[in-house]
Amino acid sequence: MSAQIRTFALVWLALILLLAMTVAAAFLPLGPAKPFVSIAIAIAKASLIFWFFMHLREDTGLLRLAAVGGALWLLILLLLMSSDLLTRT
């Protein structure tokens, strides 16, 4: 159990570091890249939580599929909707 706790603690540390990065990035003049950076970091954080805290690491492929399935479907909504918003005249 202590091995697990150590992993969890390390994951937590990584999460906090990522948080620091993303807040710092918000103050940098990144221009149009800014939202992409912050979302990329958020995805990294979410992956850590899913993979370690939520035990996807130990689970079968089916559960992993269920977990990412929702996210993939959301991508459909976002992409096709943007296809309209970005090309309106």
């Binding site: 399935g69 479907w73 459909i76 090309t87």
Partner: protein
């Protein structure tokens, strides 16, 4: 079990034996109200749903009757313009969310999925009961909004009409649709887990009846599309009730954002209404032909393809809305793609009859109605997906005819087909087949008379949601109203002969149609826990011919 059923005595582990008490039919397992309203038995819950859903079908149908009566003349004489607007809104809301979406999954799906895969119940029986209660609570909200005076936004609740201008009981209707969504989500979740985790030994994916495949695909759509509707309705409610503008053009908000979110749910939702019907028809076709379906895997995967591709085409409802031209072209192309899996199914059903042994049971006639009417509805849907055609036909009666052909001609026919096919299993009684056949023919005729003229009306330029119209359209409208009265008679008939069978019908055999499938190996009606012993499946579905007398040539 005398005939060569796909069952085998299972040796290990020793199956839990049922007490004699549990072996009695599920209908006899208690007569108290409590034994019904607090049951966790999927079969009883299916019956509960059946009653609730038929109630709403009649309410929605009554609204349709009012509309058709009013439309018999060009001027407004039966209903006021406000009354008419409320009639079609309530008609749409009730028929879509309280009848058609739950219709086949929550009744036949609920009843049959565990039986077909050899399970004792759904994965989460109490959740299943909860879903029914949620449905009923939502139903009360609908009835409240109906009785309080109705809603005048159309079933699509477009902003800013619904948030800033409509003065009907929009909040009550929104709450109803919001709440019933959770019933959908939980049902979908329950089905998915059931199919994954509760298949009997030997019931591999390749041995699942096609009914299961289509319900599995439906459940995915239920699970992934419905939440988007829920949140969209929350945003709508916040805007209407709290003044928290989200889509409000006065703040620079975008009404098209609402339409995107709404159709992201509502187009997949049309496949929620269609896929279970396709599952039913696959069963009916195989059972009528007494033959292995043609192209099992193609039919199975086309269900999954429809569920997936169905999420990519919602923009075809927005071709003239001010959506970008490029997006419209993409959505049009994807709409062509989504037709392919439907085509695969239709052609495979046709091929299944080749060298079959076809019996003209009522269920077969309903399945034929489905195929005929669905194909016309589907092809006219494709016409609407052609950009230049849709610019003319959008929001006309052509669209109304398109979707009634699929939803009423298709899915409702399949629902009635399922009712006639599984009635003996569900109730343990036989009905008079002749009446079933007559009903099927009457509904088919009345349907075409009601809705075919609407294609012509639409092309002539008659917009939908019109309470009064140019006199030149009257002949076609009158024809449509006349057809609707035949249709109404057709839908009323089963009440009599099926009702009659409950009391006076012959007790049904275990397998009256000579069909394959685990549900036909248990007594009619099935015992409380479905299977005396856990069945072990050793062969694929549709393993015809059975040695059963009813299936021999």
């Amino acid at each position: 079990m005398s005939d060569a059923s796909p069952l085998q005595e299972s040796a290990d582990p020793p199956p839990p034996r049922e007490t004699p008490e549990e072996q009695v039919s599920y209908l006899r397992a208690g007569y108290s109200l409590k034994s019904w309203f607090f049951t966790t038995d999927h079969k009883r819950i299916a019956i509960l749903y059946m009653v609730a859903i038929m109630f709403f079908f009649v309410v929605g149908g009554a609204a349709a009757v009012l509309m058709r009566l009013d439309l018999a003349t060009p001027s407004a004489d039966l209903l006021t313009s406000d009354g008419y607007n409320r009639a079609f809104t309530m008609h749409g809301v009730i028929m879509v969310w309280f009848f058609l979406i739950p219709s086949i999954p929550t009744t036949f799906g609920n009843f049959l999925i565990p039986l077909m895969i050899g399970a004792r119940d759904l994965a989460f029986p109490r959740l299943n009961l909860l879903s029914w209660y949620i449905y009923v609570i939502a139903g009360f909200f609908t009835l409240y909004s109906l009785v309080a005076g109705g809603v005048d936004t159309g079933w699509t609740f477009y902003t800013p009409l619904s948030t800033m201008f409509a003065n009907g009981h929009v909040m009550a209707a929104l709450s109803a649709v919001f709440i019933v969504g959770f019933s959908s989500i939980l049902t979908g979740l329950n089905f998915i887990v059931t199919v994954h985790k509760l298949r009997a030994p030997g019931m591999t994916w390749g041995r699942l009846p096609l009914f299961i495949w289509s319900h599995y695909a439906t459940s995915l759509v239920l699970l992934l599309a419905t939440p988007v509707l829920s949140i969209t309705l929350v945003l709508l409610a916040a805007e209407r009730m709290l003044g928290v503008g989200i889509f409000d053009p006065a703040l620079g908000g975008d009404p098209l954002l609402y339409q995107h979110l709404f159709w992201f749910y509502s187009h997949p939702a049309v496949y929620i209404m269609l896929l279970p019907a396709m599952g039913v028809v696959s069963e009916l076709v195989a059972a009528a032909a007494h033959k292995q379906v043609f192209g099992y895997w193609f039919i199975a995967y086309s269900s999954m393809a429809i569920a997936a591709l169905g999420f990519l085409v919602w923009g075809h409802h927005m071709f003239v809305s001010g959506q970008s031209m490029y997006a419209s072209a993409i959505f049009s192309l994807l709409s062509v793609a989504v037709a392919v899996p439907s085509a695969i199914k239709v052609y495979n059903w046709t091929a299944t009859f080749y060298k079959g042994s076809v019996s003209f049971d009522p269920a077969f006639l309903f399945a034929m109605s489905f195929i005929g009417l669905f194909v016309i509805g589907g092809m006219t849907g494709l016409m609407l997906a052609m950009l230049a055609v849709d610019v003319h036909l959008h929001d006309t009666y052509f669209v109304v005819a398109h979707f009634h052909y699929i939803m009423v001609g298709g899915t409702v026919s399949a629902f009635f087909g399922a009712l006639h096919f599984w009635w003996p299993k569900i109730t343990g009684r036989d009905y008079t087949k002749m009446w079933g056949g007559l009903t099927a023919v009457l509904i088919f005729g009345g349907f075409n008379m009601t809705f075919f003229p609407q294609f012509l009306l639409g092309y002539l330029g008659m917009p939908r949601r019109y309470h009064s119209y140019d006199p030149e359209f009257q002949v076609l409208h009158l024809l449509s109203s006349a057809g609707a009265s035949i249709l109404a008679v057709g839908y009323m008939l089963p009440v009599f002969y099926l009702g009659w069978s409950l009391r006076w019908g012959k007790p049904a055999e275990t397998n009256p149609w000579g069909a394959t499938g685990l549900e036909w190996t248990v007594p009619s009606p099935p015992p409380k826990h479905n299977f005396e012993e856990v069945p072990v499946v050793v062969e694929g579905p549709y393993h015809y011919p059975l040695k059963h007398p009813a299936s021999r040539d």
